[in-house]
């Protein structure tokens, strides 16, 4: 991974650098592409996790999600280069910094737009423009790099199957974050409040839950998770002010296909990752992406609420 992903390409290209190479044993190639699919699924899931929470709870289509990811990557870059913080400490730091930015944006803008979903979408697009441009003015347009510990940038080979250690790390992080979010949602008081507000805001409010505050913290949590995603993707790829644009459409498709629930997003990202990897093996990576888009459109035609609907009601 380390060598091929250092130059700037569409981020999905790097997922499938195995699919193009012809293998002697096709079953080995297939097994490799399944493993690669798992890695893509991990990336999709991490990218979509913050969005799932924000969309699933408040129904907000946050177009600035990709830029939250970008901010996470820049946070790590800044901490490494100006403070000298080790990579593993940068990950929680990215969560805190981007979460705080998300909180501020929610308090100053998003909270006024909850009953105007289309306008939220537009306003957050404006936010993404401002964040990209602001980052460009501060850090410049030249690519930045995130340093990772050397053992993470090696390659693991077992019987002809190979995968970068960092990709395995991303898959583990995806599992860890999923477990964390599940714990917050289903085992804490805050989680009960979130689920109550998701099911019915008015009724929850009449039981004394401060729904505005729940929304604010949920948004901050989602933004923070995007920051963690940025801390991971910044090491996977180069860091640019526009890097978030590449993730936002795929992340949305994952969330919408999944229906806004945590489990839905997990299943959707697994399916999309594996299918994309297998299609890429048969055709090529670009056409695989096209097929995925078409499949998702067809799927949503017949199941507009997605795999598992978060709130039970159709948005």
């Amino acid at each position: 991974m380390a060598g091929s992903s250092r130059h700037h390409r569409s981020h999905t290209d790097i997922f499938v650098n195995l699919g193009g190479s012809e293998m002697d044993i096709s079953s080995l190639a297939f097994a490799n592409s399944l493993i690669l699919g798992l890695s893509i699924a991990g990336i999709f899931f991490v990218a979509a996790l913050g969005l799932t929470i924000i969309y699933g709870t408040a129904g907000v289509i946050n177009m600035a999600h990709g830029e939250f990811i970008m901010l996470g990557a820049y946070t790590v870059y800044a901490l490494q280069n100006f403070v000298g913080v080790p990579y593993f400490l940068c990950i929680p730091a990215a969560f805190v910094v981007v979460g705080a930015i998300g909180f501020a944006i929610e308090k100053s803008l998003i909270r006024y737009l909850y009953d105007r979903p289309l306008d939220t979408l537009l306003a957050t697009w404006g936010v993404s423009l401002v964040l990209i441009q602001g980052t460009r003015l501060i850090f410049g347009s030249d690519p930045k790099y995130v340093e990772i510990p050397s053992f993470l940038s090696s390659n693991l080979e077992i019987g002809g199957l190979s995968l970068g250690v960092f990709r395995i790390f991303i898959i583990l992080m995806a599992l860890l974050l999923a477990a964390l979010v599940w714990f917050i949602f289903f085992k804490t008081d805050f989680g009960i409040k979130i689920r109550a507000v998701t099911q019915n805001r008015e009724i929850a409010a009449s039981f004394g839950i401060n729904s505005g505050q729940v929304y604010s913290f949920t948004f901050a949590l989602g933004a923070g998770l995007a920051g963690v995603a940025g801390a991971l993707f910044g090491a996977l790829n180069i860091v640019l002010p526009t890097m978030g644009m590449g993730y936002v459409v795929e992340a949305f498709l994952t969330v919408v296909t999944g229906g806004g629930a945590l489990m839905g997003s997990a299943i959707a990202s697994l399916a999309i990752g594996e299918l994309q990897s297998i299609f890429a093996l048969i055709t090529n990576s670009t056409f695989a992406q096209f097929l995925i888009f078409v499949l998702i459109v067809v799927f949503l035609r017949f199941r507009p609420q997605g795999l598992i609907s978060a709130s039970g009601k159709r948005r």
């Binding site: 537009l122 404006g126 459109v297």
Partner: protein
């Protein structure tokens, strides 16, 4: 005389006539070929803003993938222009570079100019009818539909890059000659081309305004406010949504054709997500509910972007982003909404003699199409 001037139909038409009169007179003042070409391209952007205003402002269908119709129209037109310059039995040079030795079937119809132009309008509109039909009968709407248009747009961008032998990939198609219609050549750097685009802009805008004022337009605006209620009144909402979406696609396809004629170049950049969303930004800043103000929005934003210069471009985009946020937050009607409010204030002193009910009635009647 207690109605808001903004909503008087006669005044609206007079305003349209005056605005188009000024825009159409530009070649009489300046004969700078480069400037005329640039302004004509703004006309294309104006058409796109009008198309968004029609489906989003009137129908409430936020379409963030208007680049689909725009790009398809532009590609078909560029293919037609490319084939015009090809000698008998030769194929475009880029195909040779990509290992093709005969003209692919996809390109065959474009050998004939009339067929090519018809296809440039028919292909995008048909796609919109089918895609819209599929989506709207499944009752996909609101932000969901916006995301789906965005995904479809990305799919188109991907496939046009991927089909390199047929589309020349990221390099796009740049026909070496300008478009010939019968005996007349449309030189993109001439007042003729300017008036050609201008004529189409007037045609699209007036047609869209007539649609808005028709019975069809009334139902479309009704379903923006409450699709369920329109459905309960016995209308087939999906048909109305699909039609208004396809009509806006047709206007965008015309814009795409003009773009290919004016710039003699198309590339997957026409399918760029950022470009399609900036169309929405133009319409939002100008005023999504007003066709002509949406058009002004396109002129202003694109014009300013060209003239702030490279040095301030970064700052300019920052300002654009901020003003977009502010408009969405405080001024959902855009600049047109501001004009409407101001004119409404002007009309108020005379309505104060009216009863409370009278005032309420007139404030409710502000949905007259502009």
């Amino acid at each position: 005389m207690n109605q808001n001037l903004y909503n008087k139909k006669t005044l609206q038409w007079l305003f349209y006539a005056a605005a188009f009169g000024v825009i159409g007179a530009v070649p009489l003042i300046s004969d700078d070929a480069f400037l005329l070409n640039q302004l004509a391209v703004y006309g294309v952007y104006g058409m796109l803003a009008v198309s968004i205003s029609l489906c989003w402002g009137s129908g409430g269908i936020l379409n963030m993938g208007q680049g689909i119709a725009f790009g398809l129209g532009a590609y078909c037109m560029a293919m037609t222009m490319q084939m015009q310059t090809q000698a008998e039995d030769t194929i475009p040079p880029f195909m040779l570079n990509n290992g093709l030795d005969s003209l692919p079937h996809l390109w065959q119809p474009f050998q004939d100019t009339t067929t090519g132009i018809i296809l440039a309008l028919l292909v995008p509109t048909t796609f919109y009818l089918v895609f819209g039909g599929i989506m709207f009968t499944a009752r996909v709407s609101g932000p969901f539909f916006a995301i789906m248009t965005l995904a479809t747009l990305s799919a188109f961008a991907t496939i046009f890059v991927d089909l390199q032998p047929y589309t020349n990939g990221v390099n796009g198609i740049s026909p070496p000659g300008s478009l010939n219609l019968g005996e007349t050549e449309i030189d993109p750097y001439s007042s003729g081309a300017y008036w050609f685009v201008f004529g189409l802009l007037v045609l699209c805008t007036v047609a869209a305004k007539l649609i808005n004022q028709s019975r069809f337009g009334l139902i479309v605006r009704a379903l923006k406010d409450d699709p369920e209620r329109v459905r309960f009144l016995g209308y087939n909402v999906a048909i109305y949504e699909t039609l208004v979406y396809a009509l806006s696609g047709l206007i965008a396809a015309i814009a795409g054709c003009c773009f290919a004629v004016l710039t003699q170049y198309v590339s997957p950049a026409q399918f760029d997500v950022g470009f399609s969303i900036s169309i929405v930004i133009w319409a939002a800043l100008g005023g999504r509910n007003s066709l002509i103000w949406a058009m002004f929005g396109a002129f202003t934003v694109q014009g300013a972007q060209s003239y702030v210069g490279d040095q301030f471009l970064n700052t300019w985009i920052l300002i654009l982003g901020f003003s977009f946020i502010l408009v969405v937050r405080f001024l959902p009607g855009g600049f047109a909404g501001l004009v409407e409010t101001v004119l409404g204030r002007l009309a108020k002193p005379e309505t104060e003699t009216q009863s409370e009910n009278g005032n309420l009635k007139f404030s409710g009647a502000k949905e007259v199409a502009k």
